[in-house]
Structures are given as structure tokens and as C-alpha cells.
């Protein structure tokens, strides 16, 4: 799996949310390209190729980060701030996927450079639709920034 292109980094601490999100992604056949981080630290390690992921390369960034905000250790907004503050990771699209509809979260999220902000619908069918649409857009429709990723892909 590590050799395959990771298309989505899913940062989610809640097991149930994780399971439901995975269920939805599985339905859309996107589950094979997902890496899961259970807290902010894990997410940062993955993104910055550190700790357990030090063998990873910045040249193979995920195509999308689905980021929850309320996370143990390092919270979602801090993860976002670090990503968008670093040239190596700032081009990676981040979609905040959270239970919160708090205005201040929205404001801070966009302020820190989030590409999208989605409140998880309570209704699961809506949630599935949302996940499907988001995946479809960012993975298929959206043209990613030209990074080492593209070059590496063309070489292989």
C-alpha cells in the first residue's frame, strides 16, 4: 500500500465516524488509496514524512486531506496551519470535514487556507452523497498542482 499513490489522507479520531466515512468511501471504491491518521500528530508525521513515515517522500503527497477539527494531541486547525505554512505541503487540497458549524471555525479554517469546509450531515445518505461528491471533485475533476508527484507518476 505504501508504494501505491495515497490519494486521500483521512484525519479522524472518532472510531464511528471513521468507520462510517470508510463505509461511504468503500461504496465509491476509493478506500484503497486512503491513509488514516487518528490524531493530529499522526497526520503531521505522515504529511511531513516524519516518525513512522520518514521513508515517505514529499514528492508523493496525497491528492486530498479530509481533516476533522477536534483531534487529540494536535488539533485540526493546527495541522492545517502547519501544512499551509510549509511550501512542501501548502498545495495539498484540504477539505475540513467536521461536526462543527461554528462560525469561528469556518472563519479560522478558511483563514488558514482550507480549500473547503463541510459539515458532516447527520443523515447518512446525505453524508454518503457528500463524500462521493467531494471525492469525485478533488480526485477526478480538480487539476492538482504540478508537483514532484506528477513527475514521479510520469516516470513510473
Amino acid at each position: 500500500m505504501s508504494n501505491e499513490q495515497i490519494e486521500i489522507l483521512l484525519v479522524e479520531d472518532n472510531r464511528d465516524d471513521l468507520e462510517l466515512t470508510m463505509h461511504a468511501l468503500r461504496k465509491e471504491h476509493m478506500v484503497n488509496h486512503i491513509h488514516i491518521a487518528r490524531d493530529g500528530e499522526e497526520a503531521l508525521d505522515f504529511l511531513f514524512c516524519a516518525g513512522p513515515h520518514e521513508d515517505r517522500s514529499f514528492e508523493r503527497p496525497p491528492k486530498l486531506v479530509l481533516l476533522d477539527l477536534k483531534l487529540p494531541k494536535v488539533d485540526g486547525l493546527e495541522v492545517l496551519r502547519r501544512m499551509k505554512g510549509d511550501p512542501r505541503t501548502q498545495a495539498i487540497p484540504v477539505v475540513i470535514l467536521t461536526s462543527s458549524k461554528e462560525e469561528r471555525d469556518l472563519v479560522r479554517g478558511y483563514g488558514l487556507g482550507a480549500n473547503s469546509y463541510i459539515q458532516k450531515p447527520v443523515d447518512f445518505q446525505q453524508f454518503r452523497e457528500t463524500v462521493k461528491t467531494v471525492g469525485l471533485y478533488w480526485l477526478l475533476i480538480n487539476q492538482a498542482a504540478p508537483t514532484a508527484v506528477g513527475q514521479a507518476a510520469s516516470k513510473s
Partner: protein
């Protein structure tokens, strides 16, 4: 007028003096003349009487001579001695008669001569008579005739002399009577003249006096009338003055203000009761007393103000402190102004004061209380802020943590339904559907409650918003609800409002959503959105032809969780209209409704923010006009 009286009086007096003087002179003259005439007349009368006396004395003398002659003759002839008695009587009286005659004619020498002659003749006769008697006595016979003849001759001489004297006296009497007559005539003429003069004078004087009296009486009447008028006027003026003084006195005394009037030496002339009570002077007699005796503690600046007042200045002070001798403190609002006497000179000053000590105290108290209140407000604000923060944390928590389990329940029940549809018994599927529905409703409820809470906490972001575009957006949002229904939207002219766009959109959303929901039983749903005017302010409305409701529940309509319909008929949380009301109120507006069961409902609302942020609105509109 007075001049006129004086002239009349002086003229009257002048004329009277002439008349009186003339009268006195005439009366005096007449008195003198009369007196003289009376004296003359009396003298004449005396003379007449005298003449008669002389006449009588002559008669008596003659009688006595005759008696002597007769007696002597009778005795000589008859020798009867009874004749001697008559003779004796005669001789006895004759001497006295001659003396009386002599004395009576003492003033007349001619008569004196005649008296002397008469005396001689009587003496001669007596001698004859004596001789005759002696002859008889001697002879006892009748004497010789020569005795008788001689006697007769001598008797004739006596009679002639007496007749002569009588004639003389008669002539004199006649002369005297003539004189007396002429004197009386003169006197009469004089008296008549004087009486006539007096009468004339009296008539003239009387006429003049009568005229003057008449004139003066007319004038007197006039004067009396005028005097009466004058007196009445004076009385009336006096009464008026007294009344006016009393009124002024009453006015000042009972004026509900502290007033005092002073003379130039700052002595009290008049003072209101309020003044006395305000300065605790009830038991003092201040009238006539000096202001500075009454208030020895009077500060220098007020004494100065009084001095300047006496020089004609009007001065006032809004809040000055006066420390009384007894140590109490008073706060005074005052005004001092001069008053002018009838000559236009400053007669003194009037001081008006208001004891504002109580007010000052109250103000201080209010300040103190305000301070306390502010402190309490600050405290409460801090508490409120803390509570708000807590609420913020709570809503965040609700938003995050309460929705998550709901999502999970919904998610997993959905997965069961989707993925295990084939293996699930129908009952299980039904129950799962109910779970799914329940979680969805609760999710909706949580969302709406969050919105409501957020409206309360959120600061309004006011901007000029075109309401038509908001409504259009909402209608577009409601497409999923209306797509398969026959809904006619009637949108009137909608203007611009100074409001929070997001929140007002929420208002329209909730109202239009309700309208769509409650017209569901209608074949043809008609929903009107428009704007009119009420009391000069825009009034917005949303009207539908839905199921409506009874107005008796209207007061419940905007309460949280209050519903007028069963959930089976019309789904809903009972939060939507509460949110609408909260938003409208937050804008300073009002919302109310008119409805009838089964006849639709109309919701009216105003947005008062134009007043709240007037300047901002104007600026915004001005920008728009450019």
C-alpha cells in the same frame, strides 16, 4: 378747575366787602341822623310840655288872684267871713305861684320882666284887697265904690299881664312846634333817604348775593359732586391699592419658592414662608432685620452679589454651598435682581433662592447608587460574559459532540438497511427506519437550536440588502420542497433594508418554508411576499392560503418548541418561528401574525435597524446613490 373755584371765591369775597362797607356806612349815618332827630324831637316835646306847664302856672296864678279878688270883694260887699277863706287860700298860694312862674321862665328875660311886673301888679291888687277888707272891718259897711273900681283896674292889669305872658308862651310854643316839625320833616326825609339807600343797597346786595349764592351753590354742587367723585376715586384707589398690596403680600408670602425683598440697606421688607422654612427662620421676626444679622455666616461672595445687585446687576448661581452657623450645610440655587421704586431708583433687591440641598443629596445618592449599579452592571456583565462563553462552549459542544452520536446512529442504521436489506425481517427494517427518521429529526432540531443560540450571541453585521434577491435565493433553496407541487409565488415590490443579510435570509427561509409546508394540502398553493408601510416604516409580509391556525393560539406561535399542528400532519421542531422572532427583535423590529383556521396565515414583520443605526443607513444609501 381749582383755579376756577379760587377766582369765584375771591370775586365773591371782594363784592361782599364793598356791600358790607357801604351798608355799615349807611347804617351809621342813618343812626346818627335818627339819633339827632330823636334828641331834637325830645327837646321839642320838652319845650311843648314846658310851655303847657307855664300856661297852667299862669292859669293857677290867675285863679288864685281871682280867688283873692273875689274873696275880698265878697267880704267887702256881704261882710260874710266865708269869703275870707277863699281870700286867705289865694294869698297863701300866690307867692308860690309867682316863684314857680319865675323859675319856669328863668330862661326867658322878657317873661322874667313880665313875671316881675305881674308880681308888682298882684302886690298892688293885694294891697287894694287888704285895704278894702280893712275898710269893711273898720266900718262894717260896704266900702266906698272907689275901692272896688281901683281893685277892678288893678285886676284888669294883672289879667292883661297874664294874657300877655300866655300869648308870649303860645307864640313861643308855636315857634317851637314849627321848628320841631321842620326838624321832624328833615329827620323823616333823611331816614327815608337812608332807608331807601339801605333798601336799594340791600336789594342790590341781595340780588348780587342771591346771584352769587346761586352761582356758588351751583359751583358748590359741582364741587361737591367732583369732591364726591374724587373721594370715591380715592376710596376706590385706596381699596385697589390695598387689595393689590394684599394680593402681592399673599402672593409673596405663599409663593412655593423662597423669596425675600430687601431695601437698600439689605433689611427685610417682605419674605415668603418658604424662605422662612427653608432657612429654619420660622421662629424669628425677620421683617425689618438686616440680612446679615439673620445670616452672619453669609459668605463674602454672596455679600458681593448683593452689592452688585444693588448696583443694578441681575446675578444667579446654580449650586452654591452655604454653611450655616449651626454647622449644617445647604446647597442653594439663587437669583438676585434689583427692584425699582416709583422714582425709578433702585429700592433694593429681591432674592430668590431654591434650597437644593435635598436634590443635591438625592443627586449624590443617585450618583452613589449609579456607581453601585455600574459596579453591579460590570459584575453582571462579567458574569454574563462568562455565561456567554459557557454557552459558546456548550453550543460548540452540542454542535460537535451531540451531533456526532446522532450521525453514528443514523449512519449505522442506514448501513443496516442498505447493506442487509435482504436478510432483515420487515419489522426490523421498519424499526430501523424509525430510528433513522428519529435521528434525522433530532439532527434537524439540534441544528435549529444551534441557529437560535447563534442568533442570540451573534453581533449583527448591518448592510444595505436588496430583499428581493434574498427572497429569490430562498425560493431557489426551497425548490426541492416545491418541485412537485403547484405553488404560485406572488412577489410584490421589495425594497432595501439595513440588516444582517444572513439572518434576514433565515427569516424569509423559515417563513417561506412554513408557507410551503402549510399549503401542502392545497391544490394550488399561493404564497405572497410583499412590502407595505406602517407608521412611516416598511412593513414586510408573507401570506399563504394554507391551513392557517386559530388566533387564540397566536401567542404561542413564537415560543420555542411550541407547535400548533401534529407532527404526523406537519413535521417541524417548533424552533423556526422562535428563531424568526429572535432575529426580528435583534434588528429592533416586531413580528406578528394574522390567521384564520383553514384560511391561511399572514406574517408581518418590521426591521427597526434603520432607526438603531440611522447614520450608518444614510451613509450606506448615500454610497448607493453614487
Amino acid at each position: 378747575m381749582e383755579q376756577h373755584y379760587l377766582t369765584i371765591w375771591s370775586r365773591l369775597r371782594h363784592r361782599s366787602w364793598i356791600g358790607i362797607t357801604l351798608g355799615v356806612v349807611l347804617t351809621g349815618l342813618s343812626f346818627v341822623v335818627s339819633l339827632r332827630s330823636m334828641r331834637q324831637s325830645s327837646a321839642d316835646d320838652d319845650w311843648v310840655a314846658h310851655t303847657h306847664t307855664v300856661g297852667t302856672a299862669l292859669e293857677t296864678t290867675l285863679a288864685h288872684v281871682t280867688a283873692i279878688e273875689t274873696g275880698a270883694r265878697g267880704y267887702a260887699a256881704a261882710g260874710d267871713e266865708s269869703f275870707l277863706e277863699s281870700y286867705g287860700n289865694g294869698t297863701h298860694a300866690i307867692g308860690g305861684d309867682l316863684d314857680a312862674l319865675s323859675s319856669l321862665t328863668a330862661d326867658n328875660p322878657t317873661q322874667q320882666e313880665r313875671v316881675a311886673r305881674l308880681r308888682m301888679q298882684i302886690k298892688a291888687r293885694l294891697a287894694i284887697a287888704d285895704a278894702t277888707i280893712s275898710q269893711r272891718e273898720k266900718t262894717g259897711v260896704v266900702p266906698a265904690p272907689q275901692f272896688f273900681l281901683k281893685g277892678q283896674r288893678r285886676m284888669n292889669a294883672v289879667q292883661a299881664t297874664i294874657a300877655e305872658m300866655k300869648a308870649q308862651e303860645a307864640a313861643k310854643l308855636e315857634q317851637r312846634q314849627l321848628t320841631a316839625f321842620s326838624t321832624r320833616r328833615r329827620t323823616e326825609v333823611l331816614m327815608l333817604a337812608s332807608a331807601l339807600a339801605g333798601l336799594t343797597l340791600m336789594i342790590v346786595a341781595g340780588t348780587i348775593t342771591a346771584r352769587e349764592v346761586k352761582r356758588s351753590s351751583v359751583l358748590l354742587d359741582q364741587i361737591q359732586l367732583l369732591n364726591a367723585d374724587l373721594e370715591r376715586g380715592v376710596e376706590q384707589r385706596t381699596a385697589e391699592l390695598q387689595e393689590s398690596q394684599q394680593r402681592l403680600h399673599l402672593f409673596v408670602e405663599h409663593a412655593p419658592a423662597a423669596l425675600a425683598m430687601f431695601d437698600r440697606d439689605m433689611n427685610y421688607i417682605q419674605v415668603s414662608r418658604r424662605w422662612l422654612t427653608d432657612y429654619s427662620l420660622e421662629d424669628r421676626i425677620v421683617r425689618g432685620a438686616s440680612h446679615y444679622e439673620v445670616f452672619p455666616e453669609m459668605p463674602a461672595q454672596w455679600r458681593d452679589a448683593h452689592r452688585r445687585g444693588l448696583e443694578g446687576e441681575v446675578l444667579r448661581g446654580e449650586s452654591d454651598r452655604l454653611e450655616r452657623d449651626d454647622g449644617t450645610e445647604q446647597w442653594i440655587r439663587w437669583e438676585t435682581r434689583p427692584w425699582y421704586d416709583s422714582g425709578g431708583e433702585i429700592g433694593g433687591i429681591v432674592i430668590f433662592t431654591e434650597n437644593i440641598t435635598e436634590r443635591k443629596r438625592a443627586e449624590d445618592e443617585v450618583r452613589r447608587l449609579n456607581g453601585e449599579l455600574e459596579q453591579r452592571v460590570a459584575q453582571r456583565t462579567a458574569q454574563l460574559e462568562a455565561a456567554n462563553k459557557e454557552l459558546g462552549a456548550f453550543t460548540y459542544s452540542v454542535s460537535h459532540d451531540l451531533r456526532a452520536p446522532l450521525r453514528h446512529i443514523s449512519g449505522f442504521s442506514r448501513i443496516l438497511l442498505d447493506d442487509f436489506e435482504a436478510t432483515l425481517p420487515p419489522d426490523a427494517k421498519h424499526h430501523l427506519q424509525r430510528i433513522d427518521e428519529g435521528t434525522r429529526r433530532m439532527g434537524q432540531l439540534v441544528d435549529e437550536l444551534l441557529t437560535l443560540a447563534q442568533v442570540g450571541r451573534r453581533e449583527l453585521t448591518l448592510q444595505v440588502v436588496g430583499l428581493r434577491s434574498l427572497v429569490d435565493e430562498v425560493i431557489a433553496d426551497l425548490k426541492p420542497e416545491t418541485a412537485e407541487r403547484n405553488v404560485e409565488w406572488k412577489i410584490g415590490d421589495l425594497g432595501y433594508a439595513d440588516c444582517d443579510a444572513g439572518l434576514v435570509k433565515q427569516v424569509f427561509h423559515n417563513l417561506l418554508f412554513n408557507a410551503v409546508k402549510f399549503t401542502r394540502p392545497r391544490q394550488q398553493a399561493i404564497i405572497e411576499i410583499g412590502q407595505t408601510e406602517r407608521e412611516g416604516r416598511p412593513l414586510f409580509y408573507v401570506r399563504d392560503n394554507g391551513v392557517g391556525f386559530s388566533m387564540k393560539y397566536a401567542d404561542k406561535l413564537f415560543g420555542v418548541f411550541q407547535r400548533l399542528h401534529r407532527a404526523e400532519d406537519f413535521e417541524g421542531t417548533g424552533v423556526g418561528l422562535a428563531t424568526v422572532q429572535r432575529i426580528v427583535q435583534k434588528h429592533g423590529g416586531q413580528i406578528w401574525t394574522e390567521a384564520e383556521l383553514d384560511r391561511g396565515a399572514t406574517f408581518y414583520f418590521t426591521l427597526g435597524s434603520a432607526e438603531i443605526n440611522g447614520s450608518k443607513t444614510k451613509a450606506a444609501h448615500a454610497g448607493e446613490n453614487l
